[in-house]
Symmetry: C2
Subunit: 433 residues, 2 copies
């Protein structure tokens, strides 16, 4: 069957000037609502001398100070569960998700029934771009506990019309046992899962290519946009691979690759406004091909726990502002994420743990090179100003974080050097020296 090219053509192919107009209308409403209902934002705007009626466009928005995860956490510690940035009465909240942060307490993020509909709509556009269609039978293999990758993404995937099979984490043998009964054509999972599932199949003498899985949609692990990784998984399964991007603090999945596989498109112009900023100074960075910076998010349609100018600590590179697919949202690649865990031979590594270890030693600018998949030791770590202490650090990393690395001194490119906390996925030749 020939399906539509877009889940929501009007929104996804809107001329940029229309998108701006839509954003501005929603922005004014959202800021007014936050000011009126949330002491947290009243304080924040008040301290900056901004009245909500002043915020009519993206330029005005920049007068509002950033919101950090630490501030939101402090707000929730003072007033559990949702903090004083929540804009609704608790009885209006029908679900909470947690952020999967590794340092400190998770954030508790609320959804009204309307927020769930918005989340599903934004996610459905992304998953449709990534290939999900009503004639797919789609295995959802992320954990359904707590995080948006579970129920929020399930809701979005279901909205595409695909036949959803709730699987959850693990269960690769069970999935293979049920294969002939379910005949899945698509999977939504971490990047690692299809690899592991293929190995399990091979152990049982089954060639994964014969199983009829045509679409691998992945999330939550670095490397989904690396050419070599993509090629490997696509060959293993005889399927296409599409990467997606989301963060629990904002929405679930809110960006995905289209058929061009040349960058992710944001899918929620009516749900979230995206800014790019210099990760050190916070100055705005213009969104144009080749630009890089930290993603900053402002909800345009969140009722329960909205964020204004939320510092994601995720770094993006703009690959282009046009796309043959017809979507008018810019294309980007995730250059480094602050929260993503990666695995080295069964050891879970959180970049934030490495960061902590380096900061104890007065080092705060580093990049982890993750250009192979699965990640194999030794993992290359580039650190500014580490000269002469490479061996000591290799030992400390092994002892405290449990994996073998090679530490190299390097001058990191401008964008990364300015970011105090980040790790970065390097593809091919662009690695700094």
């Amino acid at each position: 069957m020939e399906w539509a090219a877009y889940f929501d053509e009007r929104t996804e192919t809107m001329p940029p000037a229309w998108t701006r107009r839509l954003e501005e209308e929603l922005l004014a409403e959202q800021v007014a609502r936050c000011y009126e209902r949330a002491p947290f934002y009243r304080r924040k705007l008040g301290e900056a001398g901004v009245r909500p009626e002043h915020v009519l466009n993206v330029e005005d928005l920049r007068r509002i100070p950033f919101t950090t995860k630490q501030e939101l956490r402090a707000s929730q510690e003072a007033e559990p569960p949702l903090g004083d940035f929540a804009c609704v009465d608790p009885v209006e909240v029908v679900r909470v998700h947690l952020t999967s942060g590794t340092t400190g307490k998770p954030l508790v993020l609320g959804y009204t029934a309307e927020d769930l509909r918005t989340s599903s709509r934004i996610g459905a556009r992304a998953f449709w771009a990534a290939g999900a269609r009503p004639d797919d039978t789609l295995l959802h293999c992320l954990s359904y506990s707590f995080y948006t990758g579970g129920l929020a993404d399930h809701g979005a995937l279901e909205e595409t019309g695909a036949t959803m099979v709730p699987v959850g984490l693990g269960q690769s043998r069970r999935v293979l046992e049920l294969w002939d009964d379910l005949r899945p054509t698509a999977i939504f999972s971490t990047l690692t899962y299809p690899l592991y599932l293929a190995e399990t199949a091979q152990e049982e003498g089954i060639d994964p290519r014969t199983l009829g899985l045509r679409k691998l949609i992945v999330a939550g692990e670095p490397g989904g946009q690396l050419a070599a990784t993509r090629r490997r998984l696509e060959e293993l399964w005889g399927a296409t691979l599409s990467d997606t991007y989301g963060l629990s603090d904002v929405w679930g999945t809110l960006a995905a690759e289209c058929d061009e596989r040349d960058g992710l498109h944001f899918s929620g112009p009516d749900g979230v406004l995206v800014e790019l900023v210099d990760p050190e100074t916070g100055d705005p960075v213009e969104i144009e091909p080749g630009a890089g910076g930290e993603l900053v998010f402002t909800h345009l349609a969140r009722e329960a726990t909205p964020v204004l100018r939320f510092r994601s600590r995720d770094l993006a590179e703009i690959l282009g502002v046009e796309c043959p697919c017809g979507r008018t949202g810019f294309r980007f690649r995730v250059a480094g994420r602050s929260d993503d865990m990666f695995r080295v031979r069964g050891v879970n590594v959180f970049p934030s743990s490495l960061e902590e270890l380096l900061r104890e030693r007065g080092l705060d600018r580093f990049a982890i090179v993750l250009d192979r998949f699965p990640v194999e030791p030794p993992v290359e770590i580039l650190i500014e100003g580490v000269d002469g202490r490479e061996e000591e650090l290799t030992e400390v990393v092994k002892a405290r974080l449990g994996f073998t690395c090679v530490v190299k001194s390097a001058t990191l490119p401008r964008t990364e050097a300015k970011a105090k906390r980040l790790y970065r996925v390097y593809d091919g030749e662009e690695r700094p020296t």
Copy 2:
């Protein structure tokens, strides 16, 4: 806050004559639809010489032969995934759930978007009767993988307006860690889970009664209606306990106790028609206080995979046809279920395994006495015609099923004696000798 007494007053307090009229209207539509779209039902009606236009009321419905799980399974084996009893095109199916059967393959049950709305509506009435309200923060602690207890029940609970926390199986330590951040007031889980959670709290020096959990809503294990079990859990938590009933083959949760705690009410008069039949002969049993029999279900509003006269193998006892709560659906207790697993000191026991073992020895009428909670060995098993072989059977059960039992010869009461396959929960003094 004072909440409404019912989730859906009009439907739940409908005079029985109105309910019958509603059932009849929906029944005629559903049977016509099944006949038109599903070869499985066209064969079944054809063999019985019934035309769909003949089926205008419950008496007519009895001319249609029963549907068994074996027939549905055979249909799906011949035409995976949904079998030829499915009534929609696969692209209309947005989710599948599996049945949790222990023998043979699970059934794959489909839901259209409309089916999910029906499921949520039926479940929400039941969960509201069981106490869920918009000002609750509710931990959902059943597995989200595959079965209706996960996503289908989550959807129904969310529909009540309660703030849902997706937890999933296990995680009792994590739940306690997050307690102060989330402040849950209600839980939906197996009967065992709150007991285990209380023990975990006590190990950490916390009295569960201080945690503010006010409502325990339970499912999927025998014993939720046993007075002693209820008392024990209610005292442990300083909370009320409400039992619920559902089966994946039909809908998720579709019956629950109300505030009277004197039997379960079915909550889906617009989604499922309930018959009571003699488990041996299949003859209709009138629904009146004191009556007992096997529950037989006919969908009234299922689009994807409807069942007509589905033999549940679950035994019910009618406790009354009126209730001070005002709900007009009869009150029943689940006297025995065919699929429920129970645990004896960490060993999972499926009654169907015991059944198999007994049938190999020419014994087919038995009851397992589960009147303590948690179940402690030795477990009492009553078997008709076992005289002289008690010791042999005790050994076989230990060797093959892994638990210690006491086998007794008994004459089982009429209802149970006639059921070939069943186990039964006995409360207090009513145990047969």
